[in-house]
């Protein structure tokens, strides 16, 4: 049966289409600018997936296109097609090959996940407090210095963000960092980020939290360590006692390891 199909030509068309789609899609910066050590790794995973997806999509399009071109009934043709009920080898192939592809994707993703969540020794901790509809930040290593609506972090140093919520669920997302984590009442969640490009960014709430959800933003500044130290030293306020109380009451979701394998 397959002997009657121009398999080589169809494969060539699939590869040509894959190359064409990839050539158009890969140069585009889909996720926007990257500003953390995790960003290029996640972007590269995305690029690999774009090529694989382009292949799968092209394969489906070529198979569909050829069928519609070749096997379309002539006007007035009332006859039936050939009584082919299946092909065991082909069916095994399209079970096994996709399995291999997705398992490769899973393995690759797992490696990237472990990589971007690996903890370094000189990391610093920042407390993130969220409430309807505002963000504030505490620096436990700096005498619980406290900042409302503006987050500063030093360049090239890993930060462990400890997320706290004072009311409903919020979610911490800086698109340029590619990192997101929910702030959940009752528990402390953690996100690990190593910012590697100085600049001003926006912290966006991505979990629906009420009528002010779309306005729940904060300014993020990544700056050289010396400038950061200066900024923290200039903070007048300290974290309110009520907030420190909630930190104590909350349970830590991942007390041991954050890596995908740890627990």
């Amino acid at each position: 049966m397959m002997g009657r199909l121009p398999i080589a030509k169809m494969l060539a068309a699939t590869i040509a289409l894959t190359v064409a789609i990839s050539a158009v899609m890969l140069p585009i910066d889909w996720n926007g600018q990257g500003a953390s050590t995790a960003a290029p790794k996640i972007d590269q995973l995305l690029s690999v997936m774009i090529v694989l997806s382009a292949f799968v999509f092209s394969l489906v399009m070529v198979m569909l296109g050829y069928a519609l071109w070749k096997f379309k009934a002539k006007p007035g043709d009332e006859s039936d097609g050939e009584p082919i009920h299946g092909n065991t080898r082909l069916e095994i192939a399209w079970t096994v090959i996709p399995t291999v592809i997705v398992l490769f994707g899973a393995g690759y993703s797992w490696a990237v996940l472990n990589d971007i969540e690996e903890s370094t020794k000189d990391s610093m901790t920042v407390d993130v407090f969220s409430q309807q509809f505002a963000w504030s930040f505490g620096y436990p290593g700096k005498g619980n210095a406290y900042s409302e609506g503006e987050l500063h972090v030093p360049l090239d140093r890993q930060v462990h963000f400890k997320m706290h919520s004072l009311d409903v669920i919020h979610s911490f997302w800086v698109p340029e960092w590619r990192i997101k984590k929910d702030n959940v009442p009752g528990i402390t969640t953690t996100a690990i980020v190593t910012p590697d490009k100085p600049g001003a960014y926006q912290l966006v709430c991505t979990e629906l939290c009420g009528f002010g959800h779309s306005t729940m933003r904060a300014k993020v500044i990544v700056e050289p360590p010396a400038k950061f130290r200066e900024w923290v030293a200039g903070l007048k306020e300290t974290v309110p006692d009520a907030y420190l109380e909630t930190i104590k009451q909350d349970t830590e979701t991942d007390p041991i390891g954050l890596g995908a394998g740890g627990a």
Binding site: L45, S79, D80, H85, T99, L208, L258
Partner: protein, 637 residues
Amino acid sequence: MVAAIKQPGWIRGALGAALGAALGFALVIVLREISGLPTFQTEQTGYPHVVVPLVTGPLGFLLGFGCFDYWLRWAVGQPTIPEDHSQHGAHSWKDYFRFNTDHKVIGIQYVVTTFFFFFVGGLMAMLIRAELAQPGTQIVDAATYNSLFSTHAVLMIFVFVIPVFAGLANYVLPLMIGAPDMAFPRLNALSFWMLPIAGLLFIGSFLAPGGAFDTGWTGYAPLSTGAPLGQSFFNLGVQFAGASSIATALNFLVTIITMRAPGMTFWRMPLLVWANLSTSLLVVAATPFIAGVQFMVLFDRALGTQFFEPLGGGDVVSYQHIFWFYSHPAVYIMMLPGFGIISEVISTHARKPIFGYRLMALALIGIVVLSYSVWAHHMFVAGMFSWLRVPMMITTLLIAVPTGIKIFSWLGTLYFGKIHTYSTAMLFALAFIVTFTIGGISGVMLGMVPIDIHVSDTYFIVAHIHFVLFGGSVFTIFAGVYHWFPKMTGRMYDEKLGRVHFWGTLFGTWLTFIPMHWVGMDGMPRRVADYATQFGEWNLLISFGAFILGACQLVFLYNMVVSWRYGPRAEANPWRAKTIEWQVSSPPPVFNFDEIPRVVGGPYEFGVPGARHAIMAGDSAEAPAPAPAQTTTVASP
């Protein structure tokens, strides 16, 4: 008048609703008086004098309308009214507004009702896109916006996509397996009548103080446990929709297992029957979880339980675990029946047996099994234990395998066939393969934890779910409605208008939902009433696409309504299909078959010389034996 009150029907139903609501109201007031509490509790999460009547009113309506008459008589030992089948069939449009136990009438009741909610939900989508066409606030304020997208999603999911499949299958499935009706016709009718109640509760929440529920269709605690009264309407609406869904699934299971015609072995069942068997297995086991979790939210709100209140020892993340343990399988509840429809349409219009029929059936079962083990992929950033992410990622990606099998087998079915594209149903089926592939691809990307961490809760998600739910499920629904329209109405629809609807819908779907991927990856979160100005132009384009999409649905509506009334009479089998529903008249006789058909072969034996699927009463007696050599799998390429 007295007779009207005694008879089941609308008058007694309205009376029942009023009495039920009054009883519930009185119960609350009396209990509060006895307990020395203030008569009316109007904290926004409370309002017991509204919440309780929302339960007792609909139950009163169902009682009055006659949904329980037979069972109640039986239970109290009164002589039951013998089933004289007067409730079967529909002779005028009025018969569709009665408690009717005919699966064909119920099927049409379902489809029409659910499409009503489709258009209401669609209008909400138009409002949403009008607001989002430009940055800033133009049409609705942020709170109303949140209500709109929440209600849009809930209407589309709970009272359109899930039940419209139940409606189509209700009509077609008993005919397909050669059964005179569903196994439990009275339960079937009850299932249907719970559905409009659910829809009206969802829409009615706009009348509640504080506005309609505004916490998304996901209703995450603790936002939902503290939300205004409208949230309780949602909690209760889900109970009615869920009960309807569970009862129908049980009905399908029993019907499929026990009522197949002689000779209809499992391996001779049409794939639509397989698909509904699989779906029903998901519904009966998964739906109780969402019913349970919405009760927990309601109890947190109204009774002060603290399931999701951390200060009371509750656990916020557990809401999401229970919710998604239903709501991920629900995605397949909204897709598997569509897979069944596509198999019927493609095989018929390509004049070819389904390629790899058994693997197609097994892939459905594979999806059922896997779909119970992937729910936490909705929670990769939710703060659950992080070790759970990797196994859930692996199962999530693996579910692409049985889904891929289905795509490739449909494509294989086209090869060496005689593909006819004159039917709008076939156009939708072919387009479904393309759009669903794109939705599947973005689904695989979302399954990968590092990518998901970035795009979770952004417009990328909105794009993905609309590609699989609109480009996927809704395309299959259109395919199914066009395919069985002649059977259900006895009339042909207009293919020209069908083509306008098809091309407009395809173009609108792509124009609306493809750019959503881009703005999501680039930083636009979802569920926002306003957004950064940098996304303005893309959003204008998206809204433009959405309006095209919306306008095309009016063509569909016009085509369906006018063709149902004035379309040319349909033959019994206009598509020359092999399955049993096409071997009876259009529309079928009240009791489907004069004599139960005898099944002698597979359902898709196109081009097999002498092969038949079923022998109907009145067919010539000699049953040609199917030629075994040609029905087996071709051994080698």
